[in-house]
């Protein structure tokens, strides 16, 4: 991997150079401030970086703002961004994830921890490359026989950009795994599932399907606006949300608000036909008293619960027409 590290402390940059160049096969380029980093990114446009290590607290432009600027560049829309933070203060970390960070390491870091985090980043970069090659392959097929593209897999998580507090699924997993016991205490996760998502996926082009997910994500994000939360698209038409302590959401009421907003928002496909995505909410799952692995189970539980809510809704709709009928 080619990595750009940005930190205003020269000792950190020396440590990173020493470790990364001495112990791994990665190439490290360094910058001491956000302005230098943006220039370095520009200078390396022909051989772009695979990932970034950014200090959160830097003078003038901090790492959170820099992460946001990097994310706005087309070629780095999905590149892993690992934040370096001397603070365990959750508000900084939340802001970093909201700005597009994939993961974080707390300073002073230990080499074993940094190595483990870099391995995850490397796997993400490899996954990105595989996915990109699949998309190119799918596009080639599309051009060849004119059939709709199928590169976006229904049950795969997908990055959706430019929606407030909506982050990549891998970033959400990293975030949850690193929450401290006290942070977990009041945190709650829940999920929303798009009804008939299989139909939308089957009948729409990649672009239409992604646009619909983005629109639904935006409406969910707008509905939760004003509360501290992070959310992610987990695949299968499901958006998983994590809220901060102090707020106990009622997912069913939120689902009503979201569906009202969806009804008010006129959404169309590429043929100009009106589409009516609606969602179902699963149950709220508390994260307190959970260990690392069971926190991940809680995410799955919320996800499954939302899918079950959709299945139940559809069953009720079908059974309604069967009332009074006999075999």
């Amino acid at each position: 991997m080619k990595i750009l590290a940005v930190d205003d402390d020269p000792i950190i940059l020396e440590l990173l150079s020493h470790f990364i160049e001495g112990m791994t096969d990665h190439t490290l380029v360094t910058a001491e401030c956000a302005a230098d980093a943006l220039q370095v990114i520009k200078d390396n446009a022909r051989a772009p970086f695979d990932s970034f290590l950014l200090d959160i607290q830097m003078p003038v432009t901090d790492g959170i703002e820099l992460a946001s600027q990097i994310r706005s560049m087309k070629q780095y829309i999905e590149a892993p961004i690992l934040m370096l933070t001397a603070m365990s203060e959750k508000s900084y970390i939340d802001a970093a994830f909201s700005a597009g960070a994939t993961d974080y390491v707390t300073k002073p870091f230990e080499m074993t921890e940094l190595k483990a985090r870099l391995s995850l980043v490397e796997r993400a970069v490899e996954g990105l490359a595989t996915r990109t090659s699949k998309i190119f392959a799918a596009k080639a097929v599309t051009h060849h026989n004119g059939k709709p593209e199928r590169a976006v897999q229904l049950h795969e998580p997908m990055a959706i950009h430019d929606v407030n507090n909506l982050i990549e699924f891998m970033a959400l997993e990293n975030y949850v795994q690193q929450l401290s016991r006290s942070d977990l205490f009041g945190s709650i996760c829940f999920a929303f599932n798009i009804r008939d998502v299989e139909h939308f996926h089957g009948s729409m082009s990649n672009f239409e399907f992604c646009s619909m997910l983005s629109d639904v994500g935006e409406i969910i994000s707008d509905t939760l606006d004003g509360c501290q939360f992070l959310m992610s698209y987990a695949g299968g038409g499901t958006f998983v949300c994590i809220t901060e302590s102090g707020w106990r959401p009622d997912p069913r009421l939120l689902a009503n608000d979201i569906n009202i907003s969806l009804a008010k928002t006129e959404l169309f496909d590429n043929r100009g036909e009106h589409i009516n995505p609606r969602i179902c909410a699963g149950k709220a799952v508390r994260l307190m008293w959970k260990t690392n692995s069971s926190v991940m189970d809680a995410l799955s539980e919320a996800h499954v619960s939302a899918e079950e809510a959709t299945a139940n809704y559809q069953k009720v709709q079908n059974d309604f027409w069967n009332v009074g009928r006999t075999a």
């Binding site: 020269p10 000792i11 950190i12 440590l15 607290q57 300073k107 002073p108 870091f109 230990e110 080499m111």
Partner: protein, 123 residues
């Protein structure tokens, strides 16, 4: 003391850290004194903010280089300054004695570490 990181060549970075520590402790002492003697709120808080920035950098690397105790003292002082600046006392033109005592403790620890490392090097 150096149990955390024993990669080959790490001594060079430790030496650079100690060299910078001498410069940083001088700057820190100047800012602490200026905050203590400052008369305006902005003057006091600007100097404390600058002192905090230096402590933040030291706290971020000392532990990775095996200087855990110094890193912990730097972090404690950083947190104390943050608490002061973010709290109601941060709006009064006065520098708390506890912060100055805390910075004094840090400077003594820093001097002791530099002296200890110099002794080890010459031995």
């Amino acid at each position: 003391m150096h149990q955390k990181l024993e990669l080959p060549g790490i001594e060079r970075i430790r030496a650079r850290f100690l060299e910078m520590l001498e410069q940083r402790q001088r700057a820190l002492a100047e800012h602490a004194l200026a905050a203590w003697e400052g008369t305006s709120l902005q003057d006091i808080n600007d100097n404390l903010t600058e002192a905090r920035r230096i402590l933040h950098q030291i706290a971020g690397t000392a532990g990775s280089l095996g200087f855990d105790d110094l890193g912990t003292i730097a972090r404690d002082n950083e947190v104390a300054i943050d608490t002061h600046l973010d709290g109601p006392s941060g709006k009064i033109a006065s520098c708390p004695t506890e912060i100055i005592f805390g910075l004094d403790d840090f400077l003594k620890s820093s001097e002791a570490l530099i002296a200890e490392q110099a002794t080890l090097e010459s031995a």
